[in-house]
Symmetry: C2
Subunit: 242 residues, 2 copies
């Protein structure tokens, strides 16, 4: 009996996911857009001050030593970038993607434009929704975080980071778009490098920020659909230089 | 001596305003855009619950009686819509514009696309920046408000309202755009009618919301430039109906 109840529950979950997928596709009606359902990553504590030294990161493809890596270490190594896990892993920039996939089971998606469908927005802070995005020959990390910057007032922060150096990141522009009920909110910026650390981007507020009330206006049945597009900004850079 | 000091101060202010105007024009480089410098309207207290009954407003061009207008009154009259003044004026919808211009000295601008340059963003909350915008045969009210929805955490709220009925407002779409330092934030929505009251729009968070840190990222020398565009949305409505 228990087995049949569980099977029925699983089938209901599948129908629910399929329904969310269909709705997100309907909202972002552009043909060929991949809709990816992203479940939350819930953690009880953050690795505090993990990247306090991130502002001093150089162009050499390495992050300055973090507080929980205070021992002398190989300057060619990068600490694990997965935002919510206090993971002791260190490795070269080139193997960050395979580490995130294999150890933290973060999905990687292909395509210039995708729809990120974050489920269970009601979960208490801190919660992260993370996905990797492979596009234009590079890998990007999209992080949506629910966090209480001010106690008792959770907010949503969304940003895109390049798994590469800050110089490489300057060549791209990313766009996050929310679209529902005749309302549209778009954020466009240059992605930061993962060497700069997602924690500092969010504490600076240099990302898409949503109050709970605004997030509720854009979410549908507890899920938030974010359209993502990445373009190269080399032409704009060249124009600025001229 | 004091006279010359004051004159010098006034000249410096003029040069500063001209410089802000030039910079806003440079940021919003589209030809023909009118840049309007808007000084803050600072008030010590709000007219609390002024529009608590706004949600029940009808399509007849009148607002339900407000808490400070509890006496029986002509249902064809509209209370003063100027957000920060607890103004006892009431009048027909058709004369709201002339009341706002004459009594509260709110400027009115012409053109489909304008740049709203709000000065002195550092002033403490509550502060409003207000302007009227005449476009497509109608008048709109742009309100930027700095308010502490949560004590100690001021935020900026920007919305556009039609000086007309909710049915008329449904025919338009407004866009607010911030653009600075390779970052761009756009908010698009259907304007609300002034009959629905700006206080309730802001308390619902159904508008462009900026944290102080994000407002600082977009502001330049204490001023925030907001590009405004209004279009008709009749075509979209027709498509939805089909």
């Amino acid at each position: 009996m228990l087995f049949f109840t569980q099977c029925f529950g699983a089938v209901l979950d599948l129908i629910h996911l399929r329904f969310q997928h269909y709705k997100a596709k309907r909202v972002f009606s552009a043909a060929g857009q991949l809709v990816c359902v992203v479940n939350p990553t819930h953690s009880l504590k953050y690795a505090t001050n993990r990247c306090a030294a991130a502002q001093t990161s150089t162009e050499q493809g390495v992050l300055s030593p973090c507080h929980h890596h205070e021992e002398v270490h190989d300057p060619q190594l990068v600490p694990c970038m997965c935002p919510l896990f206090s993971c002791p892993w260190e490795g070269h920039l080139e193997v960050v993607v395979s580490h995130l996939r294999q150890t933290h089971h973060i999905n990687i998606l292909q395509g210039a434009e995708i729809v990120f469908l974050a489920t269970d927005m009601h979960l208490p802070a801190p919660t992260d929704w993370i996905i990797m995005h492979s596009c234009l020959g590079h890998q990007f990390l999209l992080v949506l975080r629910k966090q209480e910057k001010y106690e008792g007032h959770p907010q949503f922060f969304a940003t895109m980071m390049l798994i590469g150096t800050p110089t490489q990141a300057d060549n791209f522009t990313y766009r996050l778009e929310l679209n529902r009920n005749q309302r549209r909110l778009k954020w466009e910026a240059t992605p930061r490098s993962v060497l700069e650390c997602v924690d500092s981007v969010i504490s600076d507020g240099d990302c898409l920020v949503l109050n709970t009330s605004l997030a509720q206006l854009f979410s549908d049945n507890g899920s938030l659909a974010i359209g993502i597009a990445i373009t190269t900004s080399k032409v704009h850079n060249a124009e600025v230089e001229m």
